[in-house]
Assembly symmetry: C2
Homo-oligomer: 361 residues x 2
């Protein structure tokens, strides 16, 4: 079959890791007789350097014309990169927010689990986690809330005042809740909906709509948790979670915390989906500008994101399984990039890791 | 000397733990020849039960007429307590937000450190934390931001929409930043200011004002960190932090995460201060309704909050030292409540722990 894949190399380690993921996709093409046509989309700093803005209409059109998008990472080091001298709406992250909105990617799925081979790298004590480890997925609303609300900075009696607005309507809450419950049905059938309903109106509406949606899923256990408590529980007892459903900002904070709790942030993929099969896939980690271009970055999260792309956007389950199995094999064989290195394992760079995984497909 | 202390027993385990802290304060009176006059203030569920509202004007007046307030904890189990059938503005937490505003308690200080005696209880691996452990204090803005913004729920074309507003002005940011830098000067002279300046206008104003304040403290190192990254760093490398300065909601989430990272949440005190010597002191933990009234709660966080009260609001440093030393002695002697129990230690209940500490003052 023929598929169109848009690639967003992005900034920092982005180009290196996307290039390894492409290597693996090319191997999939060869082995399973598909044709993938790639187009490149500039986003973030890479786009600022060429076009002066972090996202162009043309880039959006190219992304929309494809079956799915695979992204590396965007943004640079805010302390040193010239991009951060620009006004906020022109900086790399603005492009990321804009493309999410333009493609209507309202559902961000971020799995966070303890990787058997990498248990040593997990910062939490074994006795806290327990025998069964943990395996959760965070379903974060991605196109609403504080990150997309009206904002302004005004002056009152000579004093500057900045205002951001958090809003959600019932439809926005319902569609993301449905995603979370659908996912829970294929997993351990538990949804933990996280909010701050003891303070915020938006959280109270959130809770009400989530409860309505839950009625259509009698097999799924729904639990509500306050965001401050959830930040504690992720450290205290991560094994209690199956699907965490939450709004944009809480999801931003909690999913980063959860991926650090796994100790394997270089291994975690993510998907951002709209109402169709279309999606944008990217590693859960950032652009790590400090190690960019040094053949040190771990490409596995991006390669596993490519596997998610095969599975969810292209319906190529067998191919996705093959990529995941290849990653598993290379880990079992003891190959590790620096971030996940441990005693007795074989150190490899970004490219070698990509080669090994492609060869194992 | 004579001092007036208002006590807020509150809900859940609140009354038990405040009663033990009072026992310790009484011992301080006796030994150092002070007179503490206590008045009781009803807040939260305890106030709803009597007055139908979580905070009365009379309660505010009593608190204001005192030199300082010592609080247990407020709120009940949202799943079962009848308070949570009330409309949000009548529930226990509304009283807590209202008293913070009424007393202008804009600065919430929450220390989070690894307790030497309780290292075993810390969920993070020893090798992640390192030899030096960690010792940070979170300075959370407490009367602004999303928790005190305008909010409303409207209907647009038959679809409900809820809106919360996050605002900060320069003066609100400046006064809390000054607190943080003043505290840093007495500690390791590092401030990590946490925001989401890559997205929010309020965070960009926050960053600007914090940088202005920093100019008056040339000895203090200022660092900015994004909130999602901070949620990761607290798990990954808590030892990097000295003073964390942040706005209300981020502070809520991060301070709870940090106290769980210590493994000793039953030991951590907090202070909420205004521009004067006046303050409200309370444990960092919640009202734990599941163990209320069973003589199981750990009163140490409340007793250490009383020590903070002696030090900051009453200027009684020697007395505060004595209380802290008494807690230390009882721990060294091996006494533990259930939450911090470990092998070879002596199990005691709430009352016995209070007795032991009072006796050691
Ligand atoms: C770069 C930033 C705008 C973005 C976000 O906060 O959504 C990032 O942190 C993420 O989680 O994808
Ligand atoms: C009860 C609630 C309103 C409160 C808050 O979020 O401020 C609590 O979580 C806290 O941190 O003191």
């Amino acid at each position: 079959m023929e598929y169109k894949i848009a690639l967003i190399p992005g900034d920092g380690i982005g180009p290196e890791i996307v290039s390894e993921a492409k290597k693996v996709l090319d191997k999939v093409c060869e082995k399973y007789h598909h044709t993938f046509t790639y187009s490149e989309v500039l986003l973030g700093g890479a786009s600022i350097d060429v076009h002066g803005v972090p996202l162009t209409d043309e880039a959006i059109a190219t992304a929309k014309a494809s079956d799915a998008v695979l992204m590396g990472s965007i943004g640079g080091d805010a302390r040193t990169s010239p991009w951060y001298k620009l006004e906020p709406s022109k900086r790399p992250e603005a492009g990321l927010l804009a493309i999410r909105k333009a493609l209507n990617l309202f559902a961000n799925l971020r799995p966070a689990y303890l990787y058997k081979e990498l248990e040593e790298a997990c910062p939490i004590k074994k006795e806290v986690i327990g025998e069964d480890g943990f395996d959760m997925i965070i379903v974060r609303e991605l196109t609403g809330g504080l990150y997309f609300g009206e904002r302004k900075t005004i002056e009152e009696d000579g004093v500057k005042k900045a205002i951001d607005t958090l809003s959600y309507n019932e439809n926005e809450i319902r569609r993301i809740a449905i995603k979370a419950f659908d996912i829970a049905m294929k997993r351990r059938k538990k949804v933990t909906s996280v909010d701050k309903a003891n303070v915020l109106d938006s959280s109270r509406l959130w809770r009400k709509v989530v409860e309505e949606v839950a009625k259509d899923y009698p097999e799924v256990t729904l639990e509500h948790m306050l965001v401050d408590n959830c930040a504690m529980q992720l450290v205290h007892d991560p094994g209690q979670f199956d699907v965490i459903l939450t709004e944009n900002m809480f999801g931003d904070i909690l999913s980063d915390e959860a991926s650090m709790v796994t100790g394997s942030i270089g291994m975690l993929s993510s998907a951002s989906l709209n109402e169709t099969k279309f999606g944008l896939y990217e590693p859960s980690h950032g652009s790590a500008p400090d190690i960019a271009g040094q053949n040190k970055a771990n490409p596995i999260a991006t390669i596993l994101s490519a596997a998610m792309l095969l599975r969810y956007s292209l319906n190529l389950d067998e191919e996705a399984d093959a990529v995941e199995a290849a990653v598993q094999k290379v880990l079992t064989d003891g190959y590790r990039t620096g971030d996940i290195m441990s005693e007795g394992c074989k150190a490899v760079g970004t490219k070698e890791m990509g080669d090994l995984i492609a060869a194992a497909v």
